[in-house]
């Protein structure tokens, strides 16, 4: 009689979970980037008068980072190899990246 062996799947470890995210990551990044660039390319910039900028002038619409993010940008710079193009530092000024 054949014994059926139950193969118990172990709970995915955190590393395995991140490996799966990482596998999809470049695809997700590419999709988001293409969507953003396509969206922007498809939209021809309009001439918006100052009195029409009620939405654009909202504090949350500012293209720059919030001031409260300054230390967050620092610790992300220290803990990862990449830097710059995000309003934060790109290297130098401290014993970090």
């Amino acid at each position: 009689m054949l014994k059926k062996r139950l193969i118990k799947l172990s709970k995915p470890s955190a590393l395995n979970r991140f490996k799966r995210i990482k596998a999809f990551g470049p695809a997700v990044a590419a999709v988001v980037t293409i969507a953003m660039l396509s969206g922007c390319a498809a939209l021809k910039p309009e001439k918006v008068a100052p009195f029409e900028k009620i939405y654009l002038n909202d504090a949350e619409m500012d293209l720059a980072n919030r001031e409260i993010e300054v230390f967050e940008k620092n610790f992300l710079l220290y803990r990862e190899a990449a830097s710059g193009a995000n309003g934060g530092r790109n290297g130098g000024g401290c014993g970090c990246n």
Partner: protein, 402 residues
């Protein structure tokens, strides 16, 4: 005759009015006055088990309390040019368990450290607010690192303020105190401690950065920004007290190339959705000459509860490939000339999730009319290499009427 006299009087009167009128080019001169001030404080803690001080294995426990105060003054000349002066003073208090292992005794000089960093910047804007130039100078000091920074830039925007282009150059001339792991110091070489009379070496690290930014209004609800931030670093780019173990468990110092060129490219997008939702997106691609490639996506969704209060959940995802010279603990070839086990340079993926709460009040808080804004931000950082971190920040702003 009377009609001719009246006509000549009318012409003369209008001519007098013409010369008596002030032109649109005259501006009121304004003295240097305080415009706004803000304070930001942050508490950060982390833990993991891949410390570079102990070769890629060991505690990464660290706590950092950071504070920054920003003050901006402004004046205006008779020609309408505005001069803005901003002073920033930052101070960080941090404790690092891994730094305690440089000397492998409890009283290492860097167990508890303070970093202080002032910055002064100036910006001149023309009367039409279409052109400007900037300049800045900064300084930073911590127990083993001193930095002198300076930079300048130029920006221009269209009359309708729908397009803006800026370029900025920033240089940092930094100096490392070369503090080596205890067991790797030559005879007569000091520890770097304040009470140690033995000398240690100093090495330079210089950074040269350019920043290009282009902002474009797309329509009444959307605007985008393109960013490029190339940078070149030269000098001592490794961290002197990081250890590296080879496969035979022979300990060495970290050695990295003395040059690194980085090219990060980014795009920001802001979109006001409906009446109450805003979409804030950011994507960055990064590549450097150490073979690190990375992708980073930030997504934030501010929800305007009312004109004064907004809540913004956010999510950040980041992935990077390993630097060419990285190997985990005890994996390096014995003869490797360039080597690091710094987990920051490893292949990894991370997420950073949290929420931002912002409350603005024109009439001020608690009877203080100029106290206009309070903001809270909390986030949880999770990294595939086992590092976990939490961050809590608070910001408050004061604005004086112009």
């Amino acid at each position: 005759m009377r009609k001719i006299t009246l006509a000549m009087a009318a012409i003369l009167f209008k001519t007098m009015l013409l010369f008596g009128q002030t032109t649109d080019q005259e501006y009121e001169k304004k003295k240097l006055t305080l415009q706004e001030a803000s304070i930001v404080s942050s508490y950060y803690q982390q833990d993991g088990n891949n410390s570079a001080v102990t070769g890629g294995e060991g505690t990464e426990e660290l706590t950092d309390i950071s504070n920054q105060i920003t003050i901006r003054f402004s004046k205006q000349s008779e020609t309408g040019k505005r001069h803005d002066f901003t002073f920033v003073q930052g101070v960080d208090f941090y404790t690092s368990a891994s730094s305690d292992n440089i000397d492998r005794i409890d009283s290492s000089p860097s167990r508890l450290d303070v970093r202080t960093y002032p910055l002064l910047s100036w910006q001149m804007t023309n009367a039409e607010e279409t052109r400007g130039i900037t300049a800045n100078a900064s300084f930073s000091i911590e127990y083993d690192y001193t930095s002198y920074g300076f930079g300048g830039g130029w920006w221009a925007q269209s009359l309708d303020k729908n397009r803006l282009f800026s370029v900025e150059a920033q240089i940092f001339l930094d100096t490392w105190d070369v503090i080596l792991p205890e067991e790797l110091r030559p005879p007569g070489y000091g520890s770097g401690g304040a009470d140690d009379p033995l000398p240690i070496d100093q090495e330079a690290r210089n950074s040269y950065n350019l920043s290009f930014v282009y902002n474009q209004v797309i329509n009444k609800r959307m605007q985008v920004s393109l960013l490029a931030n190339p940078g070149l670093q030269q000098g001592l780019l490794s961290t002197p007290f990081h250890r590296v173990f080879d496969r035979d468990l022979l300990v060495m110092t970290e050695e990295l190339p003395d040059e690194r060129f980085k090219i990060p490219l980014g795009i920001n997008m802001r979109y006001f959705l409906g009446k109450s939702f805003i979409v804030r997106l950011h994507y960055r691609y990064y590549r450097d000459t150490w073979e690190v490639n990375s992708h980073t996506i930030n997504a934030e969704l501010p929800i305007k509860i009312n004109p004064q209060l907004s809540i913004s959940p956010f999510f950040r995802w980041h992935t990077q490939s390993a630097a060419e010279y990285y190997e985990p603990f005890a994996q390096h070839r014995p003869a490797a000339e360039l080597r690091t086990s710094d987990i920051d340079l490893a292949d990894l993926t991370s997420t950073y999730t949290g929420v931002n709460l912002r409350y603005q009040r024109l009439k001020g808080f608690f009877g203080v009319e100029n106290w206009n804004m309070v903001e809270f931000r909390v986030g949880i950082y999770d990294q595939s290499r086992g590092l976990d971190a939490q961050s809590f920040s608070i910001s408050t702003g004061f604005r004086l009427p112009e």
